[in-house]
Chain length 403, copies 2
Amino acid sequence: MTYRYAQATGRTKRSEIRELLKWTRKPGIISFGGGLPDSNLFPIRDLAAITDEVLTKKGYLALNYGPTEGEADFLAAIADHMKTYGDPASIEQICVTSSSQQGLDLMTHLFIDPGEPVLMELPSYLGAIQSFQRGGADMRGIPMDDEGIRPDLLEKELKSLAAQNKPPRFIYLIPDFQNPSGINMTLERRQQVLEISRRFAVPLIEDSPYREMSFAGKILPSLWSLSGGRGVIQLKTFSKMLLPGMRMGWITGEPEIIDQAVKMKQSTDLCTSSFSQLILAAYMQKGKMHQMIRDAIALYIPKRDKMLKGLEENMPKAATWSKPQGGMFLWVTLPEGLDTAELFMIAIEHKVAYVIGRPFHCDGSGANTLRLNYSFPSLEQIETGIAFLGRAVSEFIKAKIKP
Amino acid sequence: MTYRYAQATGRTKRSEIRELLKWTRKPGIISFGGGLPDSNLFPIRDLAAITDEVLTKKGYLALNYGPTEGEADFLAAIADHMKTYGDPASIEQICVTSSSQQGLDLMTHLFIDPGEPVLMELPSYLGAIQSFQRGGADMRGIPMDDEGIRPDLLEKELKSLAAQNKPPRFIYLIPDFQNPSGINMTLERRQQVLEISRRFAVPLIEDSPYREMSFAGKILPSLWSLSGGRGVIQLKTFSKMLLPGMRMGWITGEPEIIDQAVKMKQSTDLCTSSFSQLILAAYMQKGKMHQMIRDAIALYIPKRDKMLKGLEENMPKAATWSKPQGGMFLWVTLPEGLDTAELFMIAIEHKVAYVIGRPFHCDGSGANTLRLNYSFPSLEQIETGIAFLGRAVSEFIKAKIKP
């Protein structure tokens, strides 16, 4: 059978990173490639006890279809959680999703038509780029500095698009401990971005998987809270807090947006697992989520420190890297002209793997960058693996940059 | 903020049926509206024990990200299940989905471009119509008779489209105990449809949520098995066998299709819950799924019988209805010219609810039809509710059809 595919199928590529990650399954390779939480934290006994309790008390609800927008208990637990992190929202402003990838999928469905522009940071989250690409968006990357997206360049792009009468459908941002760059957008920058978005009447999509994972104890106001809930859609997931395998997340937005998202979700998966929603709701109601987040932070700080120390000691001078104050990732930049895809096979020979930076750039730039994860590997693996990486990078730069 | 929505958002309507079903929450209403399994069957204690076991033995896998195509244990359990029901498939031919609504969503993504034709039965499944509509498909309904879709009319439509050089992207069919009509496509008809689809080189999508729920002990060969796995994509769900709240299903197709579906699923939700996959895999490995299906059938047969008897005793002569040999639904046809949406409020006054038939028709016909569910209500509710319905219909027909 010769299948006649949709245009979206042609726009959807297999992830280059996924292909490279296959190498990391070779025995003896230390991988900084994934984006996984430390699985030592998984609350296995707590979840078994809570599942038993949920099935006993609410088995009928848990095993049946639920409302598309989410189970009442879970929506209430989410609103409580948001309040704790400075994000007030009412139930009518929340729709449960199957993790933030479905949040991104709903944004693509709601807003993107082929050829229509959307703006995003350079670099940005790979899963977002894949989703917007499927929709055929004309993605425009705005460079960042240490404080976040550059407001002057954002404004310039918006003006240029306004002049062409092609306003972007949205501006997609990851203000908190950005993946992949590790940059935390400053408060002043958040306020500037919000002001600009209002002036040009373009909605902001705030993707915030790492907000809770702040190492310095300080969490800046979100775009959602600064906006008073107007013109901002926030995407959230539990995958980075705790439990990627449960595929749980939510979006927050104006009731109009939630209404549209619920309609759209009906046609994509009808509703998210009531079983998992009620288990997570009970877990949160018992205050266990906050404890779990505190435990994760206590575990990740020494890992980040170990990785920073390892880079200081082992990387050649030509390389620079971010000093993340939260999240799971550290971002390394090599001199312009070098390609970390080329470095990758040398690193594999040195028994270490990472994620290449180019696919995080919607404009195809960033070949000289790479991303390291410190949440998943052990302290010992970080010490050994970064020494391996230092050797691989030194060898690579020596071969490439003739004196 | 004035949001600029995508064209797909404009094509996505809130379900009229969902709005009507709100009435069924009024106290005292007996509803035949939903499509729920009998929740007395939910294996609550089994699932609590199995969850404990899965978390103890495979907690790491269960709570982490899994492969987009599905967990190995679950894929193996699915292949075993399929074999039992006469559908041989290898692991490479299967991709796990978040129930069949995601299977439909992936079909829309893979195949539909705005304005491109797709063919389907008249009536057909509402969730499919919603999904294809979002994609902008030019849906063409082919009438059915008691043996299934009419092959002469299918061929006529295919010829007409071929003459316009607009071959349909696929033919969507529900051969087993169709929702909503309850019709089981005969073997001869299945063979004819397959032959026609091959002759016109158009793929078949076989949606098969009710295949296992056969009351007469006989299950006909699926289009998948008749095709030898070529040119047919089968969509499956566990929602009707047992557990809608776990949102679990799968698609089966040629490896080329599975490869495309996996790529597409990456951008929609990355992967389906490993937690729920491993729980269901263990449930199936213990042989409990087959027992559960047998129990459901034993429970549904007397319910179907009770409903048929009630209709015989209470409905006016002008009404006709299907005699389903499996599945969950019974389909009632009133004389042409009557509108079951108008009847609905009379039925509510009589304390009974159903689902109107028109939204199941992609061409907007079928105003004189309605769907009744017998799997969820109790025998007592069926007896009482069908008597109420008989009175409502008699009153309605009397008022409408002047002698």
